[in-house]
């Protein structure tokens, strides 16, 4: 393979923005250029090189051998295993992963249950007032960034959804008022029209008062911060279409768990005097896809336990942390999990099957490891943008081995094994 080629309209999954206007230049099977350049996207694409190994107890094996061994291991652990869906899979592959969990009476969870559960649970309590990202671009005349600056983690958010002209905002950025509220150490964006910093101890009070004000019954406040917060609420209520933005996966440090629900309540209330939507920024990969697939197959977006023969919701227990309990004998990791060192020790001690990008390079011992491509870089299919818009993936590199195909084969092997055990 020689020469340079260029693939247009590539969908980047570096963060949840889901930009599908990316051009990728490929030479000698390596990515050499990504435009428009965005640091998160460029890091995500890298040069596209990934390992392509298949290992059985550390030794090279054929795909057939590895799939057969994986099926056998998982069948032995039926009812006592965790299927963990990492974010770098297509939704087609995620469907197979949930099927495996069902067939194997497993618990299934995804990469988002630790980081985004608070928002999902709040939605289940209240519902929400939201919009797809194009509505931000086409309608938002007032935007409020709450305790977050999109620049570092969502570098093109402003360029894609705030700066351009929209159907109802012909002046683009100049036609919009941007308000930034910093919450303690969580900064507001730098280039806004109005800023306020709120002490974390006053955050939920501020959001509650803002809602009360929108609903017409806030009293005067003594705290200057709260007074300003109410003024901001009044500005939002006078918008034509207000958009509130927060980071639904703000990283490792826990934020006030009531923040999301308070933001949802405020946004819903704003739909009395005007129209408003809350945008929950989500990180990269197809993590929203995992929630979406889980929902249509189980009714729940994360943390689902099939051990009684049907899906049960267990939102209090999340992530791979639960593997410490002796309920689990095996783990099937599909896609790349987020792991800390202690968990690596646990995983190394149990029967672990890893299928996905760089599965052969896990920092713990696996019984079976099958490397596959990365959704969007090597694998075609569907991934969901942070706003749950399903996007077509147009991978710039060829898939040497697709997670979708490997998981399909594993489903077949597990089904065959179940058939044998029942007859």
């Amino acid at each position: 393979m020689s020469g340079t080629s260029r693939v247009e309209h590539v969908t980047c999954l570096g963060c949840g923005c889901g930009c599908d206007d990316v051009s990728v230049t490929v030479s000698e099977g390596r990515i050499i250029e990504v435009t428009p350049a965005c640091p998160v996207g460029r890091a995500w694409f890298g040069d596209g090189s990934i390992p392509l190994e298949i290992r059985r107890s550390g030794q090279p094996a054929s795909l057939d051998q590895a799939v057969a061994e994986a099926a056998e291991l998982l069948l032995e652990a039926r009812g006592r295993m965790l299927v963990y869906i990492g974010p770098d899979l297509t939704s087609q592959a995620q469907r197979h992963a949930v099927a495996l969990a069902d067939l194997l009476a497993a618990t299934v969870d995804s990469a988002t249950s630790t980081t985004a559960a608070g928002g999902l649970l709040a939605v289940q309590q209240r519902g929400r007032a939201g919009a797809t990202l194009g509505e931000v671009r086409n309608r938002a005349d007032v935007l409020l960034f709450w305790g977050m600056d999109p620049a570092p983690r969502y570098p093109r958010f402003m360029a894609r959804y705030v700066d351009p002209t929209g159907t109802h905002v012909p002046e683009g950025r100049r036609g919009r008022t941007l308000i930034g509220v910093g919450v303690g150490p969580d900064p507001a964006p730098k280039e806004v029209d109005l800023t306020l910093t709120i002490d974390p101890s006053e955050e939920i009070t501020a959001l509650s008062l803002m809602r009360a004000s929108v609903q017409g019954y806030a009293r005067e406040q003594r705290s200057p911060g709260l007074t300003q917060a109410i003024a901001i609420a009044n500005r939002l209520a006078k918008a034509r279409y207000a958009v509130l933005v927060h980071d639904a996966e703000p990283g490792d440090e826990p934020r006030n768990s009531l923040r999301v629900e308070a933001l949802i309540a405020l946004t819903q209330a704003l739909n009395g005097p005007t129209r408003a939507a809350l945008i929950s920024l989500r990180a990269g990969g197809n993590r929203v896809g995992a929630e979406t697939v889980l929902t249509w197959q189980t009714g729940y977006p994360f943390s689902v336990d099939y051990s009684r023969g049907h899906p049960r919701y267990d939102p209090a227990e999340r992530g791979v942390g639960r593997l410490g309990s002796d309920r689990f004998q095996a783990a099937l990791l599909v896609g790349t999990p987020a792991l800390d060192g202690a968990l690596s020790g646990t995983l190394g001690r149990m029967s672990t099957v890893a299928i996905g990008p760089r599965a052969s390079q896990t920092p713990f011992a696996t019984r079976v490891a099958i490397d596959t491509g990365i959704a969007g870089i090597h694998e075609a299919g569907t991934a969901y943008r942070m706003d749950e818009v399903p996007l077509q993936l147009r991978p710039p590199l060829e898939a040497q081995r697709s997670a979708n195909e490997v998981l399909r084969a594993l489903v077949g092997a597990v089904r065959a094994g179940l058939g044998r055990s029942q007859s």
Partner: protein, 546 residues
Amino acid sequence: MSAKAQLRIAGGTVHDPANGVDGEVRDICIEDGRIVQTLPEGAPRLDVRGMVVMPGGVDIHSHLASSSCNHARRLLPEEHAADPAPAPSLDESAGSPRSGTGGTVPTTFTTGYRYAGLGYTTVFDAAVAPAMARHSHAELDDTPCVDGGFFVLMGNDEYLLRQVAAGERERARDYAGWLLGSAGGYAIKIVNPGGIEAWKSGQRNLNGLDDVLAGRGVTPRAILETLADAANGLKLPHPIHIHCNNLGIPGNAAVTLATMQALAGRRAHFTHLQFHAYGGPGWSSGARPLIEYVNSHAELSVDVGQVMFGPATTVTADGPVEYLLHKSSGRKWVNIDIELETGCGIVPLLYKDKAAVTALQWAIGLELFLLSADPWRVVLSTDHPNGGSFLSYPKLIQLLMDRGARDQGLKQVNPKLLAGSTLADGLTREYTLNEIAIVTRAGPARLLGLTHKGHLGPGADGDVTVYARNPDIAAMFATPRYVVKGGALMVEEGQLRRAPAGRRLHVRPGYDQAVVPHLRRHFEAYSTISFENYPVQGITDEPIAL
């Protein structure tokens, strides 16, 4: 050479109204998935003597496979916890079935199994935003046992509104053709024409047919005319499928009637008419003038959208009405505005027979059924899950067939708003089995233009439902004795035996390609999805021939 799969469904009393068969004892023969005239003597037989044989049910209007349904599923963990759905045990070699959860919006596999258990073999999702079409196809891929497709939401889409404003009706038609093909959809669905854009742009709603969308000079009337002509011009198998303006508002029958009149002889299907049949200014029935107009206009058809008492979830693109429901019910509420296209609103509800308005809604639905003169143009629906789950169809059939059950129901409900209601005055009509066969399969299949569905003549799909007679009509229709799909036994006495993948029903109309560069410019100016990435790829079933 492998033997052709054959099945003789022998000795049943057949109701095949499309072929003029009303309760005749005859055999139904199926070979290779299709109905045939006859089979050799030794062909496998299913003895159904004494039983009632009908084509498989066809649901013309349901919400089962869409991003909106998935938002609703996610909103309702309490319903799922209360209704676990373990995997059915299929016949050996029939594959591994899947578990799921139920409630008013069941998971995909469970939805397919439950429709099959009811004797339905074809189902359409009535409201899919084209940008979310890829998601609907994925859900349908995981909805076994039923053939199906979806209708594509238009009438609040930016590009269309611009063409209507500019009087570019031909370009609007070509766009509609492109959009249906890109989405892999089946028909044009119009929800609250112009009203969703009004909701999104701060005007809140449009209430009359000639209300003007602010700053655009576009009216619901112009949208309806444009899309009705587009559907005809594109030779679509199903005409425009209309959810009128003002859903759920007292007095809305006036705008519904005006909409029927506005279409002036064009074919159109008016969906969940019950929700649009309220007299005014207070709450009263407006059913009679509407159904009488439909009776005398052969180009119009309706489905009823019956309200059934019990839990329901309202799921609609009609954002403004869901806001009102949220405010009046105090229940949790989802609103999602979908860029350049439409909206989405969700509120769970409980329809109580002791609630006066709900009792009126229930009565209006029944009035529409009982006052209709032509069952071929009045389809049974609950607008699942809006008026109630599809699982309540058997009870609805009982209300139509059994006046005693209906009168019993009338005694239970809150009578406050029923004074002067035609139903309360004693409608005596009882639907026959043949009329039930029409409103649940033959009629909807014909209205959808599905020539291979809804009947049992040679060439039709081998989808057959067999009911054991039972004086308890609800029980009879809730548990068919057999359901045959594509010539293979799928359900036997409530037990799922097989769960075949369904076939995708979609269209790919021809259109003038000149619209494409114009559309591309529109995408480049306003869309956050690349034009090249927008169309759904890889639908394996061929489109329906137009």
